[in-house]
Protein backbone atom coordinates (compact mmCIF):
# COMPACT_ATOMS: atom_id res chain seq x y z
CA UNK A 1 0.00 0.00 0.00
CA UNK A 2 1.30 3.48 -0.78
CA UNK A 3 2.45 5.55 2.17
CA UNK A 4 0.34 8.57 2.99
CA UNK A 5 2.54 11.63 3.36
CA UNK A 6 1.60 14.55 5.52
CA UNK A 7 1.73 18.01 4.04
CA UNK A 8 2.86 21.23 5.66
CA UNK A 9 2.75 24.60 4.02
CA UNK A 10 5.92 26.64 3.82
CA UNK A 11 4.55 30.06 3.00
CA UNK A 12 2.04 30.12 0.19
CA UNK A 13 4.12 28.67 -2.61
CA UNK A 14 5.91 25.69 -1.13
CA UNK A 15 4.77 22.53 0.60
CA UNK A 16 6.81 20.06 2.60
CA UNK A 17 5.61 16.47 2.30
CA UNK A 18 6.95 14.06 4.93
CA UNK A 19 6.47 10.34 5.38
CA UNK A 20 7.85 7.37 7.26
CA UNK A 21 8.45 3.77 6.26
CA UNK A 22 11.21 1.45 5.15
CA UNK A 23 13.71 3.09 2.81
CA UNK A 24 14.42 3.32 -0.05
CA UNK A 25 11.39 5.25 -1.24
CA UNK A 26 10.02 6.07 -4.66
CA UNK A 27 8.02 9.28 -4.96
CA UNK A 28 5.70 10.37 -7.76
CA UNK A 29 4.49 13.94 -8.13
CA UNK A 30 1.50 14.51 -10.38
CA UNK A 31 1.99 11.14 -12.04
CA UNK A 32 5.70 11.59 -12.83
CA UNK A 33 8.47 9.77 -10.96
CA UNK A 34 10.30 12.52 -9.03
CA UNK A 35 12.52 10.63 -6.58
CA UNK A 36 14.01 7.22 -7.38
CA UNK A 37 15.35 4.99 -4.61
CA UNK A 38 15.80 7.78 -2.10
CA UNK A 39 16.37 7.44 1.63
CA UNK A 40 14.97 10.93 2.24
CA UNK A 41 11.69 11.16 4.09
CA UNK A 42 10.67 14.59 2.90
CA UNK A 43 10.13 16.44 -0.32
CA UNK A 44 9.62 20.18 -0.71
CA UNK A 45 7.60 21.12 -3.75
CA UNK A 46 6.83 24.56 -5.09
CA UNK A 47 3.50 25.52 -6.53
CA UNK A 48 3.60 26.84 -10.06
CA UNK A 49 0.59 28.95 -9.13
CA UNK A 50 -1.62 29.69 -6.20
CA UNK A 51 -3.88 26.95 -4.83
CA UNK A 52 -2.68 24.33 -7.30
CA UNK A 53 -2.45 21.07 -5.34
CA UNK A 54 0.11 18.36 -5.99
CA UNK A 55 -0.83 14.70 -6.13
CA UNK A 56 1.81 12.77 -4.21
CA UNK A 57 2.32 8.99 -4.19
CA UNK A 58 5.04 7.41 -2.07
CA UNK A 59 6.03 3.72 -2.15
CA UNK A 60 8.53 2.19 0.24
CA UNK A 61 10.75 -0.86 -0.18
CA UNK A 62 7.92 -3.18 0.90
CA UNK A 63 5.63 -2.16 -1.94
CA UNK A 64 5.80 -4.81 -4.63
CA UNK A 65 2.81 -3.66 -6.64
CA UNK A 66 3.45 -1.17 -9.42
CA UNK A 67 2.75 2.44 -8.58
CA UNK A 68 -0.78 3.54 -9.37
CA UNK A 69 0.75 6.59 -11.04
CA UNK A 70 2.23 4.27 -13.65
CA UNK A 71 -0.29 1.43 -13.66
CA UNK A 72 -3.14 3.85 -14.31
CA UNK A 73 -1.30 6.63 -16.08
CA UNK A 74 -3.56 9.48 -17.17
CA UNK A 75 -1.49 10.04 -20.30
CA UNK A 76 -1.89 8.01 -23.46
CA UNK A 77 1.17 6.81 -25.28
CA UNK A 78 0.93 7.00 -29.06
CA UNK A 79 3.43 5.05 -31.14
CA UNK A 80 3.65 4.73 -34.88
CA UNK A 81 6.00 3.51 -37.54
CA UNK A 82 7.40 6.24 -39.76
CA UNK A 83 7.20 6.30 -43.55
CA UNK A 84 9.83 7.85 -45.73
CA UNK A 85 7.37 9.65 -48.02
CA UNK A 86 6.16 11.79 -45.14
CA UNK A 87 7.73 15.06 -44.12
CA UNK A 88 5.88 15.38 -40.82
CA UNK A 89 3.25 13.79 -38.62
CA UNK A 90 0.41 15.79 -37.12
CA UNK A 91 -0.64 14.61 -33.68
CA UNK A 92 -4.28 15.59 -33.29
CA UNK A 93 -6.93 15.39 -30.59
CA UNK A 94 -10.68 15.55 -31.16
CA UNK A 95 -11.96 18.54 -29.19
CA UNK A 96 -15.63 17.78 -29.67
CA UNK A 97 -16.07 19.64 -32.93
CA UNK A 98 -12.84 19.29 -34.89
CA UNK A 99 -9.43 17.69 -34.96
CA UNK A 100 -7.03 19.99 -33.20
CA UNK A 101 -3.33 19.68 -34.04
CA UNK A 102 -1.27 19.53 -30.88
CA UNK A 103 2.16 19.30 -32.39
CA UNK A 104 3.80 18.52 -35.73
CA UNK A 105 6.64 16.00 -35.54
CA UNK A 106 9.19 15.99 -38.35
CA UNK A 107 9.99 12.78 -40.18
CA UNK A 108 13.66 12.38 -39.36
CA UNK A 109 14.22 8.76 -40.44
CA UNK A 110 14.09 7.56 -36.85
CA UNK A 111 11.90 4.60 -37.76
CA UNK A 112 9.59 4.67 -34.73
CA UNK A 113 7.92 7.68 -33.17
CA UNK A 114 6.30 8.07 -29.78
CA UNK A 115 4.15 10.80 -28.30
CA UNK A 116 2.90 11.08 -24.75
CA UNK A 117 -0.38 12.94 -24.59
CA UNK A 118 -1.49 15.39 -21.97
CA UNK A 119 -3.18 13.90 -18.93
CA UNK A 120 -6.77 12.90 -19.65
CA UNK A 121 -9.52 13.02 -17.07
CA UNK A 122 -10.50 9.74 -15.40
CA UNK A 123 -13.43 7.91 -16.96
CA UNK A 124 -13.46 9.92 -20.16
CA UNK A 125 -13.06 8.71 -23.71
CA UNK A 126 -10.33 10.50 -25.59
CA UNK A 127 -9.76 10.43 -29.34
CA UNK A 128 -6.30 11.00 -30.74
CA UNK A 129 -4.92 10.40 -34.21
CA UNK A 130 -1.68 10.82 -36.11
CA UNK A 131 -1.78 12.10 -39.68
CA UNK A 132 1.18 11.78 -42.02
CA UNK A 133 1.80 14.85 -44.17
CA UNK A 134 4.05 15.11 -47.22
CA UNK A 135 6.20 18.08 -48.25
CA UNK A 136 3.31 19.52 -50.30
CA UNK A 137 1.01 19.48 -47.30
CA UNK A 138 -1.10 16.56 -48.50
CA UNK A 139 -2.34 14.37 -45.67
CA UNK A 140 -2.39 10.58 -45.67
CA UNK A 141 -4.97 8.19 -44.34
CA UNK A 142 -5.30 7.85 -40.62
CA UNK A 143 -5.99 5.05 -38.21
CA UNK A 144 -8.09 6.30 -35.33
CA UNK A 145 -7.94 4.72 -31.92
CA UNK A 146 -10.39 5.21 -29.09
CA UNK A 147 -9.49 4.34 -25.53
CA UNK A 148 -11.45 4.86 -22.34
CA UNK A 149 -9.14 6.43 -19.82
CA UNK A 150 -9.25 4.95 -16.34
CA UNK A 151 -6.79 6.48 -13.92
CA UNK A 152 -6.64 8.03 -10.49
CA UNK A 153 -9.02 11.00 -10.45
CA UNK A 154 -7.49 14.43 -10.29
CA UNK A 155 -7.56 16.10 -6.88
CA UNK A 156 -11.01 17.71 -6.92
CA UNK A 157 -11.34 21.48 -6.89
CA UNK A 158 -13.64 22.58 -4.11
CA UNK A 159 -14.79 25.54 -2.05
CA UNK A 160 -15.35 25.35 1.70
CA UNK A 161 -17.57 27.58 3.84
CA UNK A 162 -17.98 27.61 7.61
CA UNK A 163 -21.30 28.50 9.22
CA UNK A 164 -20.71 29.75 12.76
CA UNK A 165 -24.44 29.41 13.48
CA UNK A 166 -24.45 25.66 12.96
CA UNK A 167 -20.76 24.97 13.49
CA UNK A 168 -20.70 23.09 10.19
CA UNK A 169 -18.07 23.21 7.49
CA UNK A 170 -19.57 22.54 4.08
CA UNK A 171 -17.49 21.53 1.10
CA UNK A 172 -18.90 21.92 -2.39
CA UNK A 173 -17.69 21.91 -5.96
CA UNK A 174 -15.71 24.99 -6.92
Amino acid sequence: MPLIPTAEKLGRYSVRYTWSGDAPFRVWVNGALRLVQTDDTELIVQFPGEAMPHAIEVLDVNDTDPAESEAHNPCLRLQWRGQVDASAYLVQRWNGSEWETRTPISENRAGYYRYLTVAEVDGTEAQWRVVAQDSQGYEGQVIRHNQTVVCNPLPPAFAAAYDSGTGMLTVEAA
Binding site: I4, A7, Y13, I56, A110
Partner: protein, 403 residues
Protein backbone atom coordinates in the same frame (compact mmCIF):
# COMPACT_ATOMS: atom_id res chain seq x y z
CA UNK B 1 19.39 -19.62 -37.78
CA UNK B 2 15.67 -19.38 -37.13
CA UNK B 3 13.58 -18.76 -40.20
CA UNK B 4 10.49 -16.59 -40.10
CA UNK B 5 7.16 -18.45 -40.05
CA UNK B 6 8.72 -21.86 -39.49
CA UNK B 7 9.47 -22.13 -35.78
CA UNK B 8 8.10 -20.24 -32.75
CA UNK B 9 6.05 -17.93 -34.99
CA UNK B 10 4.73 -20.70 -37.23
CA UNK B 11 1.37 -20.46 -35.49
CA UNK B 12 0.12 -16.93 -35.98
CA UNK B 13 -2.57 -15.25 -33.90
CA UNK B 14 -4.75 -12.87 -35.87
CA UNK B 15 -7.68 -10.61 -35.12
CA UNK B 16 -11.05 -11.24 -36.72
CA UNK B 17 -12.78 -8.89 -39.08
CA UNK B 18 -15.03 -7.39 -37.73
CA UNK B 19 -12.86 -7.24 -34.64
CA UNK B 20 -13.77 -9.88 -32.09
CA UNK B 21 -16.99 -10.97 -33.78
CA UNK B 22 -15.88 -13.88 -35.97
CA UNK B 23 -16.33 -13.36 -39.71
CA UNK B 24 -13.05 -13.61 -41.57
CA UNK B 25 -9.40 -13.56 -40.55
CA UNK B 26 -7.92 -10.08 -40.44
CA UNK B 27 -4.42 -9.35 -41.75
CA UNK B 28 -3.65 -7.74 -38.36
CA UNK B 29 -1.87 -9.95 -35.85
CA UNK B 30 -3.04 -10.08 -32.26
CA UNK B 31 -0.27 -8.73 -30.06
CA UNK B 32 -0.16 -10.63 -26.80
CA UNK B 33 2.80 -8.41 -25.95
CA UNK B 34 2.96 -4.91 -27.38
CA UNK B 35 6.43 -3.43 -27.99
CA UNK B 36 6.90 0.15 -26.82
CA UNK B 37 9.98 1.26 -28.71
CA UNK B 38 12.32 3.43 -26.64
CA UNK B 39 15.30 3.56 -28.99
CA UNK B 40 15.09 2.38 -32.58
CA UNK B 41 17.30 0.95 -35.28
CA UNK B 42 15.59 2.89 -38.03
CA UNK B 43 15.26 0.23 -40.74
CA UNK B 44 14.01 -2.45 -38.32
CA UNK B 45 10.27 -3.03 -37.87
CA UNK B 46 9.11 -5.32 -35.06
CA UNK B 47 6.37 -7.46 -36.53
CA UNK B 48 5.69 -10.01 -33.82
CA UNK B 49 6.90 -10.80 -30.32
CA UNK B 50 6.34 -14.33 -29.08
CA UNK B 51 4.02 -14.36 -26.04
CA UNK B 52 6.58 -16.50 -24.22
CA UNK B 53 8.89 -13.49 -23.79
CA UNK B 54 6.92 -12.00 -20.92
CA UNK B 55 6.75 -8.38 -19.83
CA UNK B 56 9.85 -6.23 -19.33
CA UNK B 57 12.52 -4.49 -21.37
CA UNK B 58 13.97 -6.30 -24.38
CA UNK B 59 16.81 -5.36 -26.73
CA UNK B 60 17.95 -5.96 -30.29
CA UNK B 61 21.65 -5.36 -30.82
CA UNK B 62 23.24 -4.79 -34.21
CA UNK B 63 26.44 -6.73 -34.85
CA UNK B 64 28.89 -6.77 -37.75
CA UNK B 65 27.81 -7.48 -41.33
CA UNK B 66 24.14 -6.55 -40.87
CA UNK B 67 23.41 -8.99 -38.10
CA UNK B 68 21.04 -8.63 -35.19
CA UNK B 69 20.68 -10.43 -31.84
CA UNK B 70 17.61 -10.40 -29.60
CA UNK B 71 17.51 -10.53 -25.80
CA UNK B 72 14.13 -11.15 -24.17
CA UNK B 73 13.45 -9.47 -20.80
CA UNK B 74 15.78 -10.71 -18.09
CA UNK B 75 18.06 -12.89 -20.17
CA UNK B 76 21.07 -12.85 -22.49
CA UNK B 77 20.86 -12.41 -26.24
CA UNK B 78 20.68 -15.33 -28.62
CA UNK B 79 22.73 -15.83 -31.76
CA UNK B 80 23.38 -13.05 -34.25
CA UNK B 81 21.35 -13.47 -37.43
CA UNK B 82 22.04 -11.82 -40.79
CA UNK B 83 19.15 -9.62 -41.92
CA UNK B 84 19.11 -8.99 -45.67
CA UNK B 85 17.69 -5.77 -47.12
CA UNK B 86 13.90 -6.05 -47.34
CA UNK B 87 14.28 -9.33 -45.49
CA UNK B 88 12.30 -10.86 -42.66
CA UNK B 89 13.92 -13.01 -39.98
CA UNK B 90 13.12 -14.56 -36.64
CA UNK B 91 15.51 -13.62 -33.84
CA UNK B 92 15.67 -16.06 -30.95
CA UNK B 93 16.69 -15.04 -27.45
CA UNK B 94 18.74 -17.21 -25.08
CA UNK B 95 15.68 -19.37 -24.35
CA UNK B 96 14.33 -21.15 -27.43
CA UNK B 97 10.83 -19.98 -28.25
CA UNK B 98 11.39 -16.47 -26.92
CA UNK B 99 11.60 -14.72 -30.23
CA UNK B 100 10.86 -11.62 -32.22
CA UNK B 101 10.17 -11.44 -35.94
CA UNK B 102 11.57 -8.33 -37.59
CA UNK B 103 11.56 -6.83 -41.08
CA UNK B 104 14.39 -4.72 -42.46
CA UNK B 105 12.96 -1.83 -44.49
CA UNK B 106 15.68 -0.98 -47.01
CA UNK B 107 14.30 2.47 -47.81
CA UNK B 108 15.54 3.57 -44.42
CA UNK B 109 19.13 4.61 -43.88
CA UNK B 110 21.66 3.57 -42.82
CA UNK B 111 22.47 0.96 -45.40
CA UNK B 112 24.34 -1.01 -42.75
CA UNK B 113 22.63 -1.87 -39.50
CA UNK B 114 24.07 -0.44 -36.30
CA UNK B 115 23.15 0.56 -32.80
CA UNK B 116 20.86 -0.77 -30.09
CA UNK B 117 17.09 -1.07 -30.12
CA UNK B 118 15.38 -1.14 -26.75
CA UNK B 119 11.68 -1.70 -26.19
CA UNK B 120 9.33 -2.43 -23.34
CA UNK B 121 6.97 -5.37 -23.73
CA UNK B 122 3.58 -4.68 -22.17
CA UNK B 123 0.22 -6.42 -22.12
CA UNK B 124 -2.70 -4.58 -23.64
CA UNK B 125 -5.89 -3.38 -21.95
CA UNK B 126 -9.26 -4.30 -23.46
CA UNK B 127 -7.61 -6.13 -26.34
CA UNK B 128 -9.02 -9.21 -28.11
CA UNK B 129 -8.44 -11.41 -25.04
CA UNK B 130 -8.97 -8.80 -22.30
CA UNK B 131 -12.35 -7.89 -23.84
CA UNK B 132 -14.37 -5.01 -22.41
CA UNK B 133 -14.74 -3.71 -18.87
CA UNK B 134 -17.54 -5.06 -16.70
CA UNK B 135 -19.34 -4.25 -13.48
CA UNK B 136 -19.32 -6.21 -10.21
CA UNK B 137 -22.71 -7.70 -11.05
CA UNK B 138 -21.02 -9.82 -13.70
CA UNK B 139 -21.57 -10.49 -17.37
CA UNK B 140 -20.82 -13.04 -20.10
CA UNK B 141 -18.77 -11.83 -23.05
CA UNK B 142 -17.56 -13.58 -26.16
CA UNK B 143 -14.38 -13.04 -28.10
CA UNK B 144 -12.19 -14.81 -30.62
CA UNK B 145 -8.73 -15.00 -32.15
CA UNK B 146 -7.79 -16.72 -35.40
CA UNK B 147 -5.05 -19.34 -35.35
CA UNK B 148 -3.20 -19.44 -38.67
CA UNK B 149 -0.54 -21.93 -39.68
CA UNK B 150 1.79 -19.63 -41.58
CA UNK B 151 4.48 -22.28 -42.04
CA UNK B 152 5.07 -24.86 -44.77
CA UNK B 153 4.51 -27.81 -42.44
CA UNK B 154 1.69 -29.25 -40.37
CA UNK B 155 1.14 -27.99 -36.85
CA UNK B 156 -0.14 -30.72 -34.57
CA UNK B 157 -1.42 -31.17 -31.05
CA UNK B 158 -2.95 -27.74 -30.57
CA UNK B 159 -4.28 -27.68 -27.00
CA UNK B 160 -5.97 -24.64 -25.54
CA UNK B 161 -6.36 -24.22 -21.79
CA UNK B 162 -7.98 -20.99 -20.62
CA UNK B 163 -7.61 -19.27 -17.28
CA UNK B 164 -10.32 -18.90 -14.65
CA UNK B 165 -13.65 -17.68 -15.91
CA UNK B 166 -13.00 -18.66 -19.53
CA UNK B 167 -14.37 -21.48 -21.68
CA UNK B 168 -13.13 -22.16 -25.20
CA UNK B 169 -14.18 -23.74 -28.49
CA UNK B 170 -12.78 -24.11 -31.99
CA UNK B 171 -14.78 -23.28 -35.09
CA UNK B 172 -13.62 -24.44 -38.51
CA UNK B 173 -14.22 -21.83 -41.20
CA UNK B 174 -16.13 -22.57 -44.38
CA UNK B 175 -14.64 -20.83 -47.40
CA UNK B 176 -12.63 -18.69 -44.99
CA UNK B 177 -15.64 -17.51 -43.04
CA UNK B 178 -16.98 -18.25 -39.55
CA UNK B 179 -20.18 -17.18 -37.85
CA UNK B 180 -20.30 -13.45 -37.32
CA UNK B 181 -22.06 -12.40 -34.12
CA UNK B 182 -23.91 -9.14 -33.61
CA UNK B 183 -21.86 -7.95 -30.67
CA UNK B 184 -19.59 -9.14 -27.85
CA UNK B 185 -22.51 -10.25 -25.66
CA UNK B 186 -24.17 -12.40 -28.33
CA UNK B 187 -23.42 -16.11 -27.97
CA UNK B 188 -22.17 -17.89 -31.09
CA UNK B 189 -23.38 -21.40 -31.90
CA UNK B 190 -20.07 -22.91 -30.73
CA UNK B 191 -20.11 -25.42 -27.88
CA UNK B 192 -17.75 -24.13 -25.19
CA UNK B 193 -15.74 -26.29 -22.83
CA UNK B 194 -12.96 -26.16 -20.28
CA UNK B 195 -10.42 -26.91 -23.00
CA UNK B 196 -10.29 -27.42 -26.74
CA UNK B 197 -7.94 -29.03 -29.19
CA UNK B 198 -7.14 -29.39 -32.87
CA UNK B 199 -5.21 -32.49 -33.93
CA UNK B 200 -3.68 -31.07 -37.07
CA UNK B 201 -3.68 -27.66 -38.70
CA UNK B 202 -2.26 -27.95 -42.18
CA UNK B 203 0.06 -25.45 -43.80
CA UNK B 204 -1.85 -22.31 -44.73
CA UNK B 205 -4.95 -23.35 -42.79
CA UNK B 206 -6.81 -21.28 -40.21
CA UNK B 207 -9.16 -22.08 -37.38
CA UNK B 208 -11.12 -19.73 -35.16
CA UNK B 209 -10.53 -19.95 -31.41
CA UNK B 210 -13.62 -18.70 -29.64
CA UNK B 211 -13.75 -17.96 -25.95
CA UNK B 212 -16.48 -17.14 -23.51
CA UNK B 213 -15.71 -15.05 -20.40
CA UNK B 214 -18.15 -15.45 -17.54
CA UNK B 215 -17.58 -13.27 -14.51
CA UNK B 216 -20.12 -13.56 -11.73
CA UNK B 217 -20.43 -11.17 -8.80
CA UNK B 218 -16.86 -10.01 -8.40
CA UNK B 219 -14.69 -7.63 -6.48
CA UNK B 220 -13.88 -4.30 -8.07
CA UNK B 221 -10.48 -4.31 -9.75
CA UNK B 222 -8.76 -1.81 -12.00
CA UNK B 223 -6.63 -4.42 -13.76
CA UNK B 224 -7.63 -8.07 -14.12
CA UNK B 225 -5.33 -10.20 -16.24
CA UNK B 226 -7.05 -12.66 -18.58
CA UNK B 227 -4.92 -15.49 -19.95
CA UNK B 228 -5.39 -18.34 -22.41
CA UNK B 229 -2.59 -20.90 -22.85
CA UNK B 230 -2.02 -22.42 -26.30
CA UNK B 231 0.28 -25.41 -26.72
CA UNK B 232 1.27 -26.68 -30.17
CA UNK B 233 3.90 -28.76 -31.93
CA UNK B 234 5.85 -28.27 -35.12
CA UNK B 235 8.84 -30.30 -36.28
CA UNK B 236 8.74 -32.24 -33.01
CA UNK B 237 9.22 -29.07 -30.96
CA UNK B 238 6.50 -28.06 -28.50
CA UNK B 239 5.71 -24.39 -27.97
CA UNK B 240 3.48 -22.87 -25.31
CA UNK B 241 2.12 -19.37 -25.79
CA UNK B 242 -0.02 -17.33 -23.45
CA UNK B 243 -2.53 -14.97 -25.01
CA UNK B 244 -3.38 -12.25 -22.52
CA UNK B 245 -4.95 -8.89 -21.87
CA UNK B 246 -6.35 -6.79 -19.06
CA UNK B 247 -9.91 -5.80 -18.26
CA UNK B 248 -11.49 -3.89 -15.40
CA UNK B 249 -14.34 -4.52 -12.95
CA UNK B 250 -16.26 -1.46 -11.79
CA UNK B 251 -18.57 -0.79 -8.87
CA UNK B 252 -20.59 2.37 -9.41
CA UNK B 253 -21.33 2.69 -5.70
CA UNK B 254 -17.66 3.38 -5.00
CA UNK B 255 -17.65 6.53 -7.11
CA UNK B 256 -17.88 9.29 -4.55
CA UNK B 257 -16.15 12.17 -2.81
CA UNK B 258 -14.43 11.59 0.52
CA UNK B 259 -13.90 14.33 3.07
CA UNK B 260 -11.05 13.84 5.55
CA UNK B 261 -10.62 16.07 8.60
CA UNK B 262 -8.20 16.42 11.50
CA UNK B 263 -8.50 18.41 14.74
CA UNK B 264 -5.31 20.31 15.69
CA UNK B 265 -3.44 18.08 13.28
CA UNK B 266 -3.50 16.79 9.73
CA UNK B 267 -6.16 14.22 8.81
CA UNK B 268 -5.42 10.53 9.11
CA UNK B 269 -5.95 9.32 5.56
CA UNK B 270 -5.67 5.70 6.65
CA UNK B 271 -8.81 6.12 8.79
CA UNK B 272 -12.31 6.29 7.32
CA UNK B 273 -13.40 9.61 5.84
CA UNK B 274 -15.61 11.80 8.03
CA UNK B 275 -18.13 12.21 5.22
CA UNK B 276 -18.60 10.51 1.85
CA UNK B 277 -20.97 10.80 -1.08
CA UNK B 278 -21.90 13.47 -3.56
CA UNK B 279 -21.08 17.11 -2.93
CA UNK B 280 -21.83 19.07 -0.84
CA UNK B 281 -20.39 17.28 2.17
CA UNK B 282 -20.43 18.67 5.70
CA UNK B 283 -18.58 18.10 8.94
CA UNK B 284 -19.02 19.68 12.37
CA UNK B 285 -16.07 21.76 13.63
CA UNK B 286 -15.76 21.90 17.39
CA UNK B 287 -14.92 25.30 18.97
CA UNK B 288 -11.46 26.12 20.22
CA UNK B 289 -9.50 24.10 17.68
CA UNK B 290 -7.70 24.37 14.38
CA UNK B 291 -9.30 22.05 11.84
CA UNK B 292 -7.52 20.65 8.78
CA UNK B 293 -9.47 19.12 5.93
CA UNK B 294 -8.94 17.64 2.46
CA UNK B 295 -11.27 16.35 -0.23
CA UNK B 296 -10.53 13.27 -2.30
CA UNK B 297 -12.39 11.67 -5.17
CA UNK B 298 -12.72 7.93 -5.70
CA UNK B 299 -13.90 6.32 -8.94
CA UNK B 300 -15.85 3.15 -9.71
CA UNK B 301 -12.58 1.22 -10.10
CA UNK B 302 -11.59 2.01 -6.49
CA UNK B 303 -8.88 4.41 -7.59
CA UNK B 304 -8.59 7.50 -5.44
CA UNK B 305 -7.05 10.87 -6.10
CA UNK B 306 -3.70 11.17 -4.38
CA UNK B 307 -2.82 13.04 -1.23
CA UNK B 308 -2.96 16.81 -1.53
CA UNK B 309 -2.27 19.76 0.68
CA UNK B 310 -4.85 20.21 3.41
CA UNK B 311 -6.70 23.45 4.01
CA UNK B 312 -7.42 24.71 7.51
CA UNK B 313 -9.81 26.82 9.54
CA UNK B 314 -9.30 28.17 13.05
CA UNK B 315 -12.44 28.18 15.22
CA UNK B 316 -12.31 30.15 18.46
CA UNK B 317 -13.95 29.20 21.76
CA UNK B 318 -17.17 30.93 20.74
CA UNK B 319 -17.46 28.95 17.54
CA UNK B 320 -16.46 31.88 15.35
CA UNK B 321 -13.96 31.52 12.52
CA UNK B 322 -10.69 33.31 13.19
CA UNK B 323 -9.60 35.18 10.11
CA UNK B 324 -5.86 35.54 9.86
CA UNK B 325 -4.59 39.11 10.21
CA UNK B 326 -2.57 40.12 7.18
CA UNK B 327 1.04 41.07 7.63
CA UNK B 328 1.91 44.77 7.43
CA UNK B 329 3.18 46.30 4.21
CA UNK B 330 6.63 47.81 4.45
CA UNK B 331 6.96 51.48 3.57
CA UNK B 332 10.07 51.62 1.48
CA UNK B 333 10.16 55.36 0.95
CA UNK B 334 8.06 58.53 0.91
CA UNK B 335 9.28 61.38 -1.27
CA UNK B 336 8.08 64.81 -2.27
CA UNK B 337 7.64 65.31 -5.96
CA UNK B 338 6.99 68.32 -8.17
CA UNK B 339 3.73 70.18 -7.68
CA UNK B 340 3.41 69.37 -3.99
CA UNK B 341 2.67 65.68 -4.48
CA UNK B 342 4.08 62.87 -2.36
CA UNK B 343 5.00 59.45 -3.72
CA UNK B 344 4.78 56.50 -1.35
CA UNK B 345 6.70 53.40 -2.45
CA UNK B 346 5.34 50.23 -0.84
CA UNK B 347 6.35 46.61 -0.66
CA UNK B 348 4.24 43.68 0.58
CA UNK B 349 5.68 40.31 1.65
CA UNK B 350 2.95 38.16 0.15
CA UNK B 351 4.63 34.82 0.82
CA UNK B 352 4.30 35.31 4.57
CA UNK B 353 0.51 35.19 4.62
CA UNK B 354 -1.58 32.06 4.34
CA UNK B 355 -4.12 34.03 2.32
CA UNK B 356 -2.61 36.89 0.36
CA UNK B 357 -3.91 40.46 0.40
CA UNK B 358 -5.62 41.71 -2.75
CA UNK B 359 -6.01 45.46 -2.07
CA UNK B 360 -3.69 48.33 -1.19
CA UNK B 361 -5.44 50.44 1.47
CA UNK B 362 -3.73 53.79 2.17
CA UNK B 363 -4.65 56.09 5.04
CA UNK B 364 -3.19 59.60 4.81
CA UNK B 365 -3.58 62.86 6.73
CA UNK B 366 -2.15 66.31 6.01
CA UNK B 367 -2.86 68.05 9.33
CA UNK B 368 0.16 66.80 11.22
CA UNK B 369 -1.68 63.97 13.01
CA UNK B 370 -1.22 60.25 12.50
CA UNK B 371 -3.86 58.49 10.38
CA UNK B 372 -6.47 56.50 12.36
CA UNK B 373 -7.85 53.50 10.49
CA UNK B 374 -10.87 53.54 12.83
CA UNK B 375 -11.98 56.97 11.73
CA UNK B 376 -10.20 57.94 8.52
CA UNK B 377 -11.35 56.97 5.03
CA UNK B 378 -8.76 54.99 3.11
CA UNK B 379 -7.80 55.15 -0.54
CA UNK B 380 -8.14 51.63 -1.98
CA UNK B 381 -6.48 50.31 -5.09
CA UNK B 382 -6.51 46.67 -6.19
CA UNK B 383 -3.36 44.62 -6.34
CA UNK B 384 -3.03 43.42 -9.92
CA UNK B 385 -2.35 39.68 -9.98
CA UNK B 386 0.53 38.40 -12.07
CA UNK B 387 0.21 35.63 -14.61
CA UNK B 388 1.36 33.20 -11.94
CA UNK B 389 -1.41 34.25 -9.61
CA UNK B 390 0.81 36.21 -7.25
CA UNK B 391 -0.41 39.62 -6.10
CA UNK B 392 1.32 42.86 -6.93
CA UNK B 393 4.04 43.08 -4.26
CA UNK B 394 5.35 46.59 -5.05
CA UNK B 395 3.46 49.79 -5.65
CA UNK B 396 4.10 53.51 -6.02
CA UNK B 397 1.12 55.60 -4.84
CA UNK B 398 0.95 59.32 -5.41
CA UNK B 399 -0.81 61.62 -2.89
CA UNK B 400 -1.61 65.31 -2.93
CA UNK B 401 -0.90 67.89 -4.03
CA UNK B 402 -0.42 69.40 -0.60
CA UNK B 403 0.23 73.02 0.23
Amino acid sequence: MATAFSESDALGYYLSDPRGLGGSRSAVEFEALEPVVLTAIAPIIIERVSPLCGEGQATITAGPDNTLAFAAPGEAAGEYVTVPANGRVLLESETPGKSVRVYRDAVYAPADLGGLMTFDLVRGVNNAVGLGNITVSGVTDYGCVWLYNQSDADITGIEVTPGAGFAVAFETPVSGLCEETADATTAPAASFGASASVATLGAGESVLLRFCRTVGAATVNAAVLAEIAVEWVIAAVTYTDTLSGYYRIADASLARYELFAGEDGLPDFSAPAVATGDLPLSVSLSPGHTHYYALRERNAYDLSSFNVLCESKVIDGDGEEVIEVLSDPVVVSMESTAGGEVTVALRYADLVDEVAADTWRLYATSDGTDPDPNTDTPTDSPMRASALGRPQVENNMRLGPYD
